[in-house]
């Protein structure tokens, strides 16, 4: 399950002018890379799991 804000606090701070664009984008980029890294790894891991199961069943 996942639940969160559609527009998170840091994004609101940026749009309200409370946070510098350079700080906001540096943080957002770091977060995006971390989440993308986890997501891609997860997908690759699941794909590897599925292909090894396939090998098992074909024997």
């Amino acid at each position: 399950m996942m639940r969160g804000q559609v527009v998170p606090e840091e994004a609101r701070a940026w749009t309200a002018g409370l946070l510098l664009a350079t700080d906001y984008f540096a943080h957002a980029r770091r977060e995006a890379v971390a989440k993308a890294s986890a997501a891609i790894r997860g997908r690759l891991h699941r794909a590897a799991g599925v292909s090894s199961e396939d090998r098992g069943t074909s024997r």
Binding site: V6, E9, E10, A21, A26, A28, R30, A32, S37, L44
Partner: protein
């Protein structure tokens, strides 16, 4: 800037040596592969030692030549195998890095930029007071140029929104430069660049130039003398039939922008147009 969110400090993947943005370091994987190859070589050496202990060391030149030939026959496939596996591993890592970069960019554009800016556009149209609406519009222009400069790929990219008023376009918001832009685009007979820029807005066009010095440009798209940028994208900002101005991003290096940057700029320009359009 203030307080609110905890933006400082390393991200979850920071400090992972050797793997770039990625988790398991390449060096660790490579050392595992090398250990495996060493084990294989060790097994061969052990086999040779057992043979020597049982039958004695080679006594003749022919026997030594046979041993040398055997060593080469073992070493060459091992070397070829290690090279091939290392190359495959590097290719896999490159594909993985690329996939992560693309996924991260998508998250950044859609989740961290378009979503909050769309919310501001909504607030512009919800606000009843004229002063407050104008203030939100000023904020929106600034957010869009900040987003354009940060999302487009060029290093040291700068972005400007030129607002159209009474057949002239002046900089209304900018990001990435120390001095405010002084360019004014007019439709005066001597201002060819101005005429072309105004035509671009009137026809709701965009223009991407890879290198202002390296390719033949349409008349009026040439940079002014002494300009420091080499590549740029300019996009008309409009909503329906209402022309509002031009959003531009430029970079000092050639070929700084690609199709993706162009699409980002188109989306930013349309968001800005949606926020600036007047009710009829």
């Amino acid at each position: 800037m203030t307080s609110t969110p905890p933006l400082a400090g390393p991200g979850p993947d920071a400090g992972t040596a050797g793997g770039g943005v990625l988790g398991e370091p390449l060096a660790r994987r490579r050392s595992r592969l090398r250990t495996w190859l060493l084990l294989e070589a060790g097994a061969v050496a052990l086999g040779y030692a057992v043979a020597v202990l049982r039958d004695g060391a080679p006594a003749t030149g022919g026997a030594w030549a046979l041993v040398a030939a055997g060593a080469v026959a073992v070493a060459v496939p091992l070397w070829v195998k290690s090279r091939r596996e290392l190359r495959q591993e590097t290719d896999t890592r490159s594909a993985e890095t690329l996939a992560i970069e693309i996924d991260a960019r998508l998250r950044l554009i859609v989740g961290d930029v378009v979503t909050p800016i769309a919310e501001v556009v909504g607030r512009v149209h919800q606000t009843s007071g004229k002063a407050e609406r104008e203030s939100l519009r000023g904020q929106l222009k600034q957010l869009v140029v900040e987003a354009a400069a940060n999302l487009c790929d060029g290093e040291r990219a700068r972005a400007v929104f030129f607002q159209l008023e009474r057949s002239e376009m002046r900089a209304a918001a900018w990001f990435g430069r120390g001095e405010p832009p002084t360019t004014v685009f007019t439709d005066g007979p001597g201002d060819r660049r101005g005429q072309e820029a105004l035509l671009l807005v009137r026809f709701h066009d965009y223009l991407l130039v890879d290198d202002v010095r390296g390719e033949e440009l349409p008349r009026g798209a040439e940079p002014r003398p002494g300009a420091s940028y080499r590549s740029f994208i300019s996009v008309a900002v409009f909503c329906g039939e209402q022309n509002l101005g031009m959003l531009s991003v430029d970079a000092p290096e050639p070929h700084a922008f690609d199709d993706t940057d162009l699409n980002v700029m188109r989306a930013m320009a349309q968001l800005l147009g949606a926020g600036l359009v007047d009710h009829r």
